[in-house]
């Protein structure tokens, strides 16, 4: 495959395998996670990792992009441990996670991003932090990631188009990242912005697009520091493929996929609620909250059920959609007293 440079270690085994983690590391992560987490007793879909036997999922086969993992990231990825809140549903294979993407900056067909992002270069990466925080400025990604230990979270991903996947992300809690910028008491919202680089992102050059780039997403600050909100810098035990949002992206599993913004270049702490890209493009169809909710219909897709991918033509893949994508025990309290039909 053109542009593909497998490391020698990848050639030995073409399959995805489970990487075993030492007892001490895993136990340490569980202890750290337990401090932050609420009781999970009622939710059968979420498996707590009390077993020292758990391993992280690692893809060892080929990749479809030219970007090598930056050397500074390699040891961090190697030390990633199983984290909390992982589902025990079977994960969507790497081949599908990395070749079926909504990333309109690289084209609107699901197969476009893997083609058009093949040579995307995200090294070095600068993250700009602005707004209501004490530590603002431009930061090098390597410096930002230094203090964060990485963990794996196997989350359900529910797209507003009524399909879903299960993805083993590698990353760390968004709350930990936010804390480092020391937002002040005026910071009520967090705004995220994708890289704007028409040279590298052909979708940003389209003449007839209804989207005003750069792509913008946002969260309420209490949503952003919720224990489930996650910054992913990898999946399947290795760095993020560009089509999945390299080098860092958001993962908010209780919201529709478009909230989980990719290739983040700027984070701003704001007093007022930011307008998000899809909201600006079509406010009748897309709201700020975009919580997964089977009872609130979308004008294009019924949200009562979803198709778990990869689909098979020869057996059913449709299942009922769960409130907050099955993460109600962790996030429902964020929305008590809110009319979720109006705040869709």
């Amino acid at each position: 495959m053109a542009g593909m440079q497998p490391r020698s270690s990848e050639i030995t085994d073409e399959r995805t395998f489970m990487r075993r983690r030492g007892f001490i590391k895993a136990a340490g992560a569980i202890a750290a996670g337990a401090v932050a987490s609420r009781a999970l007793a009622a939710d059968s879909a979420v498996a707590t990792n009390t077993s020292a036997e758990r391993r992280i999922l690692v893809h060892e086969g080929e990749v479809l992009h030219s970007q090598a993992t930056p050397p500074w990231l390699v040891p961090k990825l190697r030390e990633a441990v199983p984290g909390n809140f992982s589902t025990n549903e079977s994960a969507t294979p790497y081949e599908y996670v990395s070749q079926y993407n909504n990333f309109y900056e690289f084209g609107t067909d699901k197969g476009d991003p893997v083609e058009n992002a093949r040579d995307f270069n995200s090294e070095p990466w600068t993250l700009e932090v602005t707004g209501e925080a004490d530590r603002t400025g431009k930061f090098n990604l390597e410096d930002i990631l230094k203090p964060h230990a990485l963990e794996e979270r196997i989350y359900r991903l529910r797209c507003v188009e009524a399909w879903s996947m299960v993805v083993p992300w590698i990353g760390f809690p968004l709350a930990d990242l936010i804390r480092r910028f020391e937002p002040n008491s005026n910071a009520k919202f967090v705004r995220f912005e994708t890289l704007f680089d028409p040279q590298q992102m052909p979708g940003q050059r389209s003449r007839f697009t209804a989207i005003d780039y750069p792509y913008v997403e946002g969260l309420r600050i209490d949503e952003a520091v919720n224990e489930l909100a996650f910054v992913a810098i990898g999946l399947y035990g290795r760095s993020l493929p560009p089509q999945n949002g390299a080098p860092l992206r958001l993962v908010v599993p209780w919201k529709y996929g478009f909230k989980s913004i990719k290739s983040i270049a700027r984070i701003s702490f704001l007093r007022e609620r930011p307008k998000t890209t899809w909201e600006l493009s079509n406010s009748r169809e897309y709201g700020f909250y975009a919580n997964v909710n089977p009872e609130v219909d979308h004008p294009r897709w019924s949200q009562g059920s979803e198709r778990r991918l990869p689909g098979s033509l020869f057996s059913r893949s449709r299942t009922e959609t769960l409130m907050f994508n099955g993460y109600a025990p962790q996030v429902a309290h964020l929305y008590t007293g809110m009319n979720l039909k109006r705040n869709f």
């Binding site: 079926y100 609107t108 697009t209 209804a210 493009s281 019924s302 198709r307 689909g311 033509l313």
Partner: protein, 209 residues
């Protein structure tokens, strides 16, 4: 041009044959052949070919005028029937593969999703055209047949709206297809004699005078 019809028949069957081949490969274990979402891929593929055959059907009249090939009219009916065929497959695959025959959700879609309502309207209008496509029907309906088959213009517009409403962000394709349909329809309203005399004579194969 006796070969025109058989050739059209063979070419028209190619897309669906390809689709069936892909499904059989998937069935025999080639998991990647239709991507992560085979159902959606098949629906989109057949939707695309419905549109292509619709555009081909519409282009017969302009083409035969421009190039002076009256025989082309002989394949117009077949192209129209292929349009209906691919639309049927498109609709069937939507109901069977995407919605997995959850009739409650299909009815809700037809009612609440404008792009599906309009696509369905287009499909309903194709039915009388397919039913009255035989020579016997042409004879039976005479003048009314021509009027009835002008529905194809309405269907084209509905198809464009279907496409526009299912588009989420990038309207490039919609713009291109709208221009093509506009051109094909405009041709029919232009002053043909001027068009033919000034522009098309040089291209003519059979000069009528």
């Amino acid at each position: 041009m006796g070969w025109l019809k058989p050739l059209t028949l063979v070419l028209g069957c190619l897309p669906i044959s390809y689709c069936i081949w892909q499904v059989s490969r998937l069935y025999s274990g080639d998991a990647g052949i239709l991507g992560a979402d085979p159902a959606k891929a098949i629906v989109e593929f057949n939707g695309q070919w419905t549109l292509y055959f619709l555009l081909l059907t519409l282009s017969i009249t302009p083409l035969r005028t421009i190039f002076g090939i009256p025989a082309l009219v002989g394949i117009r009916r077949m192209l129209g029937l292929f349009t209906f065929f691919y639309a049927s497959v498109h609709l069937l695959c939507y109901a069977l593969l995407l919605l997995e025959l959850r009739f409650g959700e299909i009815l809700a879609d037809l009612e609440k999703r404008p792009y599906i309502s309009i696509g369905f309207a287009a499909y309903l209008l194709l039915i009388p055209l397919a039913v009255t496509s035989s020579n016997a029907m042409v004879r039976l309906l005479r003048k009314r047949w021509k009027r009835l088959h002008r529905l194809i213009y309405v269907i084209s517009l509905l198809a464009l709206v279907h496409l526009a409403w299912l588009t989420r962000s990038d309207y490039t394709e919609v713009v291109i297809y709208t221009l093509i349909v506009a051109l094909l329809l405009l041709f029919r309203t232009l002053n043909r004699s001027w068009f033919e005399r000034k522009l098309l004579m040089p291209f003519r194969r059979e000069n009528p005078s």
